[in-house]
């Protein structure tokens, strides 16, 4: 009984970590956009490298880290 209760609690708790898709869909459940396909911002390059570079750039907005370097 206790195990079942714990499992139910765990399932309930983990459910909060899930994320439902938020893009608008049609009633038929299909994506609506029918225009030209767009290439991703990283193009044919490495996505991880692009994200890392962009993240470094984002951190330059953090003046506490940018100006007050120890």
């Amino acid at each position: 009984m206790r195990t079942v209760l714990l499992a139910a609690l765990l399932a309930f708790g983990v459910a909060a970590c899930s994320e439902r898709p938020q893009e608008p869909f049609t009633a038929q459940g299909e994506k609506r956009y029918q225009g030209k396909p767009d290439t991703p911002a990283w193009g044919s390059n490495d996505r991880v490298a692009w994200e890392t570079k962009l993240k470094q750039r984002q951190m330059t907005q953090h003046e506490d880290r940018r100006i007050y370097q120890p």
Binding site: W42, L54, K55, Q58, Q61, H62
Partner: protein, 199 residues
């Protein structure tokens, strides 16, 4: 996976309109169209005046996408809401649906004829070849493809406007608020230039 967002710190925005100018200059936005603008409340009331810079907020569940009759909107893998101007019919539904007034319509003729919708692209261009002439003409510069952030956020002199991955800029803002506290600590020399170093 990054989810691109803007965040404007109302305690820092000084209504300089640098973000508006940067956007117009970077993307060569036509006359009469403002992809970004600064909104001020309690204008002139000492201590109560607040300004924030507003543009497309690249909503997760974007109302413009939901109402568009020709389905010209799409969302990139980074969460940027873009649209295809070749499909847009300039009906203005997105303008009514958007809570931020982000969609803009250029005056295409002398009699109030509406052109195709134009809005903030998070400096991510549109559905044309990246960094091509066609992309620049229709949507403006694709800074994301160059590994840069939107011009408005990068040009902000007080760093009131933050742009980038929602998680990262939320962390920056959180740390900033914790450091500065509230009340009189929000302004002043120490906040602007740091506590100084003892030599």
């Amino acid at each position: 996976m990054a989810r691109m967002k803007f965040l404007c710190d109302a305690e820092r925005c000084i209504e300089c309109n640098g973000c508006v100018t940067a956007c117009k200059q970077e993307n060569e936005v036509p006359w009469g169209v403002n992809r970004r603008r600064v909104v001020t409340i309690n204008d002139g009331v000492v201590g109560a005046e607040k300004s924030i810079s507003v543009a497309c907020m690249h909503c997760s569940d974007a109302p413009c996408m939901a109402v568009c009759p020709v389905d010209c909107f799409y969302k990139t893998e980074d969460g940027v809401v873009l649209h295809d101007k070749d499909l847009c019919i300039g009906c203005g539904y997105c303008f009514y649906a958007c809570p931020f007034g982000a969609p803009q319509f250029p005056q295409a003729g002398a009699f109030g004829l509406r052109g195709k919708m134009d809005k903030c692209t998070f400096c991510a261009g549109g559905p044309e070849t990246d960094r091509s002439e066609a992309e620049f003409t229709k949507y403006g510069r694709n800074r994301l493809a160059e590994g840069k952030l939107p011009a408005c956020a990068e040009m902000c002199s007080t760093k009131a406007l933050l742009g980038g991955d929602g998680d990262v800029i939320a962390d920056i803002y959180r740390e900033r608020v914790l450091r500065r506290g509230k009340g009189s600590e929000v302004w002043g020399w120490g906040t602007a230039y740091g506590p100084g170093r003892k030599s």
